[in-house]
């Protein structure tokens, strides 16, 4: 028994190292001077340039991109993450409410329309989607960035499942008290769904923050870059070569792009796991 538990710990420690070490090395390397990195390669111990490097990346114009600072990209990422999460929860709760609680003629066909979005991931409709957004004049806008992303079916399925598990007696009682459909939704269903809403918000914040392909094709101006898009730009600069490659900045940018979603996942771990496991069912 004792021996097997030691091997168990060894496997888990190796797994944890495999998952964690790359991020640690990225962080440690981001705190060194560029010539140290070029001379000695990746770093395992933090260096003395933490404040200097992060200050330059976050606040100095031209520090990391041509013009825009990482702080501005962080703001854009926040808008995308929060806008995506909130928009998705609102839209899918409303739709799920209609589908579960109302009898109406088009309920079934509309449900299938929503279902179809599962078959149309963005990747298979990239170019026409870009054309639609550009025809609507939504390139480089928050609306164009967020709205096309929030309509997929996952959130709606999730709330549909949850609403179905709410006891019917609640609606009967509410109706005896004279509640309208909006009143029932707002005063009873939404408060009941609080935990579910929190779980979905957390997952969707991470998903929204990490969006890549869509922001990539529909932002053309640097001031609209998110951190994840900044990653691509810095990759471009590094692979083009030229002057002294600024590896410390590239690593600092990966750390900044990683930190907020990781913090959200760590702080709200229990809700996050619940939301992930439930929403994918």
């Amino acid at each position: 028994m004792q021996r097997s538990s030691i091997s168990t710990h060894i496997i888990l420690i190796l797994g944890a190292l495999f998952m964690t070490l790359p991020i640690w090395v990225a962080f440690a390397t981001s705190t060194h001077a560029p010539d140290t990195i070029l001379r000695e390669g990746l770093q395992i111990m933090p260096g003395g340039h933490f404040l200097e490097n992060y200050n330059e990346v976050l606040f100095v114009e031209g520090g990391v991109m041509k013009k825009v600072t990482a702080l501005a990209m962080l703001k854009n990422s926040m808008i995308l993450g929060i806008g995506f999460a909130v928009g998705k929860v609102v839209i899918s709760m409303l739709a799920a409410y209609a589908i579960v609680y109302f009898r109406f003629r088009l309920a079934v066909p509309l449900f299938w329309v929503i279902f179809m979005t599962l078959l149309l991931p963005l990747e298979v409709r990239i170019i026409p989607s870009f054309e639609v957004v550009s025809d609507l004049g939504l390139l480089d806008t928050h609306t164009g960035l967020i709205v096309p992303l929030i309509a997929s079916a996952t959130g709606t399925f999730f709330f549909r499942q949850f609403f179905r598990s709410v006891p019917d007696e609640l609606l009967e009682a509410a109706r005896l008290d004279g509640a309208t459909s909006w009143g029932f939704f707002k005063d009873i269903l939404v408060p009941l769904s609080k935990t579910m809403i929190a779980a979905i918000l957390i997952i969707m914040f991470v998903v929204g923050w990490n969006q890549y392909l869509w922001p990539l094709i529909m932002t053309t101006k640097e001031e609209n870059y998110t951190l994840v898009i900044g990653i691509k730009q810095i990759y471009q600069v590094l692979s083009e070569g030229g002057e002294l490659p600024q590896f410390q900045k590239a690593f600092a940018l990966t750390i900044l792009a990683t930190l907020p979603p990781v913090l959200v996942v760590l702080v709200f771990q229990r809700w996050f796991v619940k939301g992930l496991v439930e929403s994918e069912k």
């Binding site: 209609a98 609680y101 409709r125 026409p128």
Partner: protein
């Protein structure tokens, strides 16, 4: 459907309207466009186009570069799915056994979920950089003639490694929650009957995890097909010579870089059919699960 519902009224249409409108404008319309454009041949300036039936399909899908991408995508997704599922299953089983430090292990193993694929891609790319990358030096040190910029096999290795790394945590979370869903009494009964833990795992635990595993397979194949775009785009970009092009990456390349709208649309439609097949498999399976 609920037994008790609100009566007929226009109200439900107001509730579903936002979602349906967005779907029509940003999902159905572009997808229909993709299908339509896949039958058109545009001239080089996009000024005129003519209807060519299945010519785009025959031209692009019969081309050697598409077949190469399809071949790579199949090998790539098989490897990524198999490796990330195996590693995650091993870790989940061990994390479920352990008593001391269980929550620390769980946290350390699951947090990489939050990292975006392109971020993982850039990180991995820098670690394999010939200038500063220790992994690059290490691979050469242990005797491989490693050069992922020139060697297709090495490039594939880098992309697979990063994609597996990024996917382990999701699989780990699902396997662990699956394992925790197995009743204690089942495990206790199994211990009575069979002393070998390895055999117990393969005869009792693993079959009970089959629904989770199957579901995760679909998720992982979808991931390997679509979401790894961000990893490829920040590492090899299909190099060397298209050896690490996935089908999705090729749609993007041909459409945006190559401006071959018809060919790119035809590839999109083929991908849609693949997603359709995956979804059908997934739902048939879920239906079966409900019958248990």
């Amino acid at each position: 459907m609920k037994r008790v519902q609100f009566e007929h009224s226009p109200i439900p249409y107001l509730f579903v309207a936002p979602q349906i409108i967005i779907i029509l404008v940003f999902f159905i319309w572009p997808a229909a466009q993709a299908v339509y454009q896949s039958f058109l041949l545009e001239d080089a300036w996009g000024l005129s186009s003519q209807f060519v039936w299945f010519k785009n399909y025959v031209d692009t899908i019969g081309s050697s570069s598409w077949l190469q991408a399809a071949g790579f995508t199949i090998i790539f997704s098989t490897l990524v799915t198999f490796l990330s599922l195996s590693i995650a299953l091993l870790l989940a089983v061990k994390a479920n056994e352990v008593i001391h430090g269980a929550s620390t292990y769980k946290t350390l193993l699951m947090w990489a979920y939050a990292i975006a694929p392109p971020v993982a891609g850039l990180m991995g790319n820098l670690m394999f950089s010939p200038l500063i990358g220790d992994l690059y030096k290490f691979m050469n040190f242990i005797g491989f003639d490693f050069d992922h910029k020139l060697d297709p096999f090495d490039a594939g290795f880098v992309v697979v490694l990063i994609s597996v790394w990024k996917q382990v945590s999701v699989n780990f979370i699902f396997f662990l929650s699956g394992l925790q869903g197995i009743p204690k009494s089942v495990n206790e009964a199994a211990v009575m009957d069979c002393r070998s833990p390895t055999r117990r795992f393969w005869t009792i635990t693993f079959p009970l995890l089959a629904p989770t595993t199957f579901f995760l397979m679909v998720i992982n194949i979808t991931y390997a097909f679509f979401e790894t775009f961000g990893i490829i785009d920040t590492t090899t970009r299909g190099a060397p010579g298209g050896a690490t092009n996935t089908l999705v990456f090729k749609v993007f390349q041909d459409g945006f870089r190559g401006a071959d709208i018809g060919g790119s649309s035809a590839q999109s439609v083929v991908l849609m059919l693949m997603v359709l097949a995956l979804t059908v498999i997934q739902f048939r399976f879920i239906e079966r699960k409900i019958h248990y």
